[in-house]
Amino acid sequence: MITRKRLATGACALLAALTVGLLPATTTATADSGPAATDSAKEPPKVELVLDVSGSMRARDIDGQSRMSAAKQAFNEVLDAVPQEVRLGIRTLGADYPGQDRKRGCQDTRPLYPVGPLDRTEAKTAVATLAPTGWTPIGPALLGAAEDLEGGDATKRIVLITDGEDTCAPLDPCEVARDIAAKGIHLVIDTLGLVPDAKTRRQLMCIAEATGGTYTSVHRTKELSGRVRQLVDRAADPVVTPVATDGAERCADAPVLKPGLYADRQVIGTHRWYRVDVLPGQELRASVSVSADRAVNDDYGVLLRAVTLHGREIVRGSEAGDGRTDVISTGLRYPKKDDEEAMDDDTKPAAEPVCLQVSNSFSAPPSVKTTPGMPVELAIDVVDGPGSASDVASFGLGRGWWLLGALALAGFLGGLVWGWLSRWRIAVWRTH
């Protein structure tokens, strides 16, 4: 650990100082090691901006200018500030078909600028040509955007900017968003509503919630550009992407997990099993979080249990809560004792398969669809076991005035006895 390293460095430095007098800067290396980017050598993150160009964008209610020109202005600013590594694309909805035919109007979405390395001027020119035109097919636009971003293991983000609710029922954009998220491609949809009404707001919040994204309502141009820029920057942040896994109904069939981050789906009111192999002398650490990605009832809980193959529960972590939440999470740790017999035998100690059961106690109103299941994130770590303690107190040391009093009293009594003894000895010696 750092302490030891530092001690060592300090000792080296001291030695150098004492012998040479002047020292090389040995300590600078350890001085400030900030959190390094964990996954820098990864695929570039992909972002698609989905812009509503429907007829309603003509309304002039953002800083006195039309919603469309506010959006264009914001786009210009955002395009200037996009980090170099981000692969950015732009998709429009309702940009081409001005007619009344609903069927055609609801297919009106197209990529304006393909997802890829950004040519700022080209992208800006493309945006400048847009004029408010047609319908608001949000659902199809999201599906299209998900397709544009498909492939690769990069982080993916859709930023949806719209001013009205989807006009293309029965395809509910909220369901579409949940289905996209359930594909396990780590796609987050952030939504921005331009001067939204109640229905638009509800729909956009639902889309954001379904994918773990955020919702923002925009009343000013500055807010719009600032927020979109923030979201694009967020996509550029390095982050560990979880590996998809599929928990089983029973422990015997459960997938064996190595240390890492896993994603799964869990239907309300069901549980899932996973397995981790733990060697003697190792400590298993598991944490789980279940995301509330839809409208659920106000009281909920999650339970994570570590169980042996024979069904004995070793340890559990549980959590319950109420009210608005994004996730509910809990964790547990299980240090497996060193197997002394096995060590004596000089054989390789066998790993113990530990079954992990994840269950949730969410409930949802009947109107809410329960499939696909709720997103579950499982983090597994296996580290060295903790040092064993023979005493609760640190090294058996004491502390406090009672301790001082007791020690002083014991010392005093000891002194008295010793004094008596020596006096008696002198007396004995004298008499002889």
Partner: protein, 270 residues
């Protein structure tokens, strides 16, 4: 940790005193890296990250004594993560600057939750963890004092252990038309030294850090002066002081009963 450094300095100074003035120039240099390192870190120490994460995975890292800031939309869940080591009792404070009053339609409830490195929720001993902000109020102050962090605990207990701590801030109740409005927040953590009162025997091999399987992660998420090894506590001082006291009392007791060397009734000439 600080104690270790102090000990080191003491040892260094003793060495310098022994070896005379020739060595001191070098030592002056040895002593500087730590303070200058922290001085250059001071500017950053106050600053902290300016963005927050939106999930446990993306939580923004900051250290104690730093101030993390963020702009977000009401209804967002903001996450930060900070390291806490044994022997401290961290207090998380957050100041939320609410959206303009004109944009708001009613009172909102704000809340911070603290989770440990295993994503287990940690209770607050003291502090207003949740507060209702009336419509006309401009800022909300939240605070949460965790239980003292111990070096070890039973497996089945939820006692705070050295490692990462997540802070989640959100509005738990909000009029629907008020969601998505811009707000800003400032979060800070300060620890009170609990001394040896909570010092325990045994220690985790690796602090409770997410992704602890890889040592680099553990190092990257460490406090400024690294994770402590856990062997030091002021119990050493108490116990040593007790020993000294016992020795003195012992001498006192001995002197009392032994008397003055030879019995007084025996004349010296006898």
């Amino acid at each position: 940790m600080r104690t270790v450094r102090r000990l080191l300095t003491a040892v260094a100074l003793a060495g310098a005193a022994l070896l005379g003035p020739a060595a001191t120039t070098g030592l002056a240099d040895t002593a500087t890296p730590a303070p200058s390192g922290s001085a250059s870190g001071d500017a950053a120490a106050q600053a902290g990250p300016t963005e927050a994460g939106t999930s446990f995975r993306t939580a923004a890292f900051f250290r104690q004594e730093q101030q993390a800031t963020a702009q977000a939309s009401t209804g967002d869940y903001l996450y930060w993560v900070f390291p806490a080591d044994a022997g401290g009792r961290p207090t998380v404070t957050a100041t939320v600057t609410l959206p303009e009053t004109a944009l708001r339609h009613g009172s909102s409830t704000w809340r911070i939750d603290v989770y440990d490195g295993l994503r287990r929720r940690q209770p607050c001993m003291y502090g207003m963890q949740s507060r209702v902000a009336a419509r006309e109020v401009a800022t909300v102050e939240l605070a949460c004092t965790l239980r003292p962090v111990r070096a070890s605990a039973d497996t089945w207990s939820q006692d705070p252990l050295p490692g990462s701590y997540f802070v989640r801030l959100t509005a738990t109740a909000l009029p629907e038309e008020d969601s998505g409005q811009p707000f800003s927040v400032r979060v800070g953590v300060a620890s009170r030294d609990t001394g040896g009162a909570y010092a325990t025997d045994g220690a985790l091999a690796v602090p409770l850090v997410p992704g602890a399987t890889t040592p680099e992660t553990v190092e990257a998420l460490a406090p400024e002066d690294g994770w402590s090894s856990g062997w030091w506590s002021d119990r050493w001082l108490w116990t040593a002081a007790g020993g000294v006291l016992a020795a003195l009392a012992g001498i006192g007791g001995y002197v009392l009963t032994r008397g003055a060397g030879r019995p007084s009734r025996v004349p010296p000439a006898a």
